[in-house]
Amino acid sequence: MPKSFSRIGIYLGGLVMAFPFLWMASSSLKNDVEAFATPPTLWPHKPTTINYHHAFALADFPRLFLNSLIVSVAATLLQVFTSGLAGYAFARIQFRGKNILFLMYLATMMVPLQVIVVPLFLEMRALNLIDSYWALILPSIATAFGVFLIRQAMLTIPKELEEAAVLDGANHWKIFRHVAVPLCGPSFATLGILSFLATWNSFLWPLIAIYSPEKMTLPLGLANLHGEHNADWPLIMAGTTLAVIPVTIVYFILQKQITQSFLTTGIK
């Protein structure tokens, strides 16, 4: 393939991938008439912020953001913590029943959320936690995937480092804290990014577990807004634009780490 051809391909592809986002922003700044106009206008002739005023009036966006943030940050921190500990145990400690226990962890990785969603709902209902942050956080405290990821990283730590620490009188906690964790920084970053994104974007479980608007996460709030105003597209595009802006900014700042984390976990 000649170079110029592939250049054109890359730019065209980039346009196809980016244009819907620009269209979303453009639609959100149009009035009801211009939004539906034929031929469509690329950028509004008379940009208006009315849709954003409506969006803020109809849905409590700061609240939705805060809810998403609370749930995602809690889930991420807890998952990094629990995965780090268990990953260390599976990689560096000899103990009875280790292999069977690890196999059990791996088995849960193959169970899709859809299979356990009904009994999980029943369990949360029995615990009286439906419609609370806890319903969203508890199932994210630990995942087999996270444990597996950290275990793989901690397996690569040279035995000599550990032995040196033991000679210095370090116990497992100290080795974990001062040797293993600092050496596995990139894997913890990967896990953090992936679990944050998974919780931030999750839809089916919050849809089932949450029903009061003041506890809804951002995706749920958007779906709700769409459910109540399903033909008011400029309004909905204002909502989705609001939801996308902060994530996109963070994404472009952390772009290299994020793509890298999808790569390392995707292949191994």
Binding site: G13, P112, V115, P119, H172, V244, G266
Partner: protein, 290 residues
């Protein structure tokens, strides 16, 4: 350190993850079995019905219909996302200025929530005033009804799905491409192989492990397709995009048939496991590990 001592230490390290995983993964897993042998509408106590939910499922035409639609979705989505992802990976598998910028752009939909993507595409494909139909109208073509039309609804959910996921496929295949040693290709070129021959005989065979991975993961994920369908069509119009998880959701939370929905989810799990095992069995025939 003695072994008994380290078992106690290990217990302390493992417990913080074991307790939640046991409570919120393993227990519900067994719960699914338990509930599937009962009729339970949450209002009255659960009633044991044996395997009735499973025998009912075998004769449920709506279930077969949703299974068929799930397969149609996968059959449309998978080749499309693979070809687009492969194309993007081949284009971006060379060093040039702006490479990482474009990679980020291609990957942006993957990190965006499905709710945003589904609503955005629902608007783009809106029959009246949507971008696609307005543009078609301008050049004198009347566009189809997209997600409102029985025959176009499936296409309308497949397109955004491929658009959203192609960045991930690209990234996985890029990693595969970058692991192919350059001297192999150079040697082939010295022997007079054309670019196409190199692609066909070297690149593609060495890309099979990455392809295999894409295939396994996408099948597992897309048998569970739900978000985009729930948001764009809710399974309609007239059941044209009704998929299995949509059925599970409806049965449990709209009709209050917890037992039946659990039976359905277990059958879905068995289907996914079967497909994954078949793929693992078949991989020897076509996947080349270097």
């Amino acid at each position: 350190m003695t072994k008994r001592n380290s078992t106690a230490v290990a217990a302390l390290f493992v417990a913080p993850s074991f307790i939640p995983i046991a409570s919120f993964f393993i227990l519900p897993m067994f719960g699914a079995f338990y509930v599937s042998f009962h009729n339970w509408d949450l209002l009255s106590p659960a009633k044991w019905v044996g395997i009735k939910n499973f025998t009912m499922l075998l004769h449920d035409r709506t279930f077969y219909h949703s299974l068929k639609n799930t397969l149609i979705f996968i059959a449309g989505y998978l080749p499309l996302v693979y070809i687009l992802g492969l194309g993007a990976a081949l284009l971006l598998n060379r060093k040039f200025k702006g490479n990482s910028f474009f990679r980020a752009i291609y990957f942006l939909p993957t990190v965006t929530s499905w709710v945003v993507v589904a609503l955005l595409w629902k608007w783009i494909l809106n029959p009246q005033g949507g971008l696609v139909n307005s543009a078609l109208h301008t050049i004198g073509i009347t566009g189809p009804g997209w997600w409102t039309s029985k025959s176009w609804a499936m296409v309308s959910v497949i397109l955004p799905s491929a658009w959203k996921d192609l960045g991930l496929v690209m990234l996985i295949l890029l990693a595969g491409l970058q692991s192919i040693p350059n001297d192999l290709k150079e040697a082939a070129a010295l022997d007079g192989a054309t670019r196409f021959q190199i692609f066909r005989r070297i690149t593609m065979p060495l890309l099979t492990p990455a392809t295999f991975f894409v295939l396994v993961v996408s099948l597992i994920n897309n048998f569970q397709v739900f978000d985009q369908i729930y948001l764009m069509t809710s399974g309609g119009p007239e059941g044209a995009t009704e998929v299995i998880v949509q059925q599970i959701y409806k049965n449990s939370f709209d009709y209050g048939r917890m037992g039946y929905a659990s039976a359905m989810s277990l059958v879905l799990f068995i289907i996914i496991m079967t497909f994954t095992l078949i793929q693992i069995r078949l991989q020897k025939r076509w996947v080349h590990y270097a």
